[in-house]
Symmetry: C2
Subunit: 197 residues, 2 copies
């Protein structure tokens, strides 16, 4: 019943659900994948929902370290960080395409469309995850405004527009099972920002 | 075993799956909702997947008549039709929010994120549905180019960008369970189009 067991369960859930869906992956399948007994699972998590809430926290932490912090680091001008973020998305989706033949998309967007009408607790968790991403985008836009790289935008509105656009681009890549659309639609960020009004 | 029975099954599947998800709605539940026996179901459809392929056709036909044809009618200039389309989306999501307390989102986007990695036949069907929408957007942009309302855009690229943006905006509305974001992000269409390059 070590801390490692809990981490193994979360990691298994993350891999299995990301490659498939919430509904399609049961607790028994997660336990089999993690090599733990069901009793052990319920020692750590009261339900699949509780596990998935912890899984989203773990995914957010991983995304922060592996994707968001490097993409939005201050070594390049603020607006260029959005381009770097999409290039990172492209690389990750290409990697999953090469490894499992599928573009897996955004784990948060996937769960949001599958679960938002079915589980209010999960919906709120996913909404707050998007809210954190939006705040990161908004802060970056504010830095661009302060540096005079851009003007006449409402950073709150533009941050929402970017978040919507990124989720939509990744949705298209998943539906087409082809990451190329991410690169093709990257230059359009500029338009979305520069002529918002 | 009438044609009506088939339509009733499709309509039940459409309502139930749209409000929940593909995995969450079984054949028995669809039969109960439609008031038909399982034998009758399998007279018309070899599997749930076959039913869902027919359901997507029916939804596309309904969307064409109720949403796309009216939104993209030629009584207003081409670019304004995109704004009218998003306003129609807003009204529909507000209606579902009022009726069932949930923003249900885009039925095609919902299935695309749930099923694209799990069923290649469904993925291709959803991809081709998006492709038809893209062509409609592209034709509309070409009309705007021909009329001189816009210049210096690649209508193929911009049609993809609009499709991604619309799906992303509706994804956010569903995740927040609030249609307001659709109206807030409508003016940004202009930027996405006017400064693509």
């Amino acid at each position: 019943m070590s801390h490692d067991t809990r981490e193994k369960i979360i990691q298994s859930a993350s891999e299995l659900i990301y490659a498939s869906s919430y509904s399609d992956v049961g607790v028994q399948t997660i336990c089999n994948h993690a090599g733990v007994k069901k009793g052990s699972f319920y020692h750590f998590f009261a339900s699949k929902r509780e596990l998935v809430l912890a899984m989203i926290d773990a995914q957010n932490e991983q995304a922060k370290n592996a994707i968001l912090d490097p993409s939005f680091a201050s070594d390049i001008p603020p607006l260029e960080r959005f381009t770097r973020f999409l290039e990172t998305m492209y690389q990750l989706q290409m990697q999953s395409k090469n490894e499992c033949n599928h573009v897996l998309g955004c784990p948060i967007g996937n769960l949001a469309l599958e679960m938002s009408t079915r589980d209010e607790i999960l919906r709120q968790k996913l909404e707050s995850t998007f809210e954190k991403m939006k705040q990161l985008f908004k802060n970056t836009l504010q830095q661009a405004l302060d540096a005079g790289d851009i003007s006449d935008i409402d950073p709150d509105n533009s941050a929402d527009a970017l978040l919507a656009y990124f989720e939509g681009v990744i949705l298209l890549a998943k539906t087409r099972n082809d990451p190329d659309i991410i690169r093709k639609l990257t230059p359009n960020i500029k338009g979305l920002l520069l002529a918002s009004y």
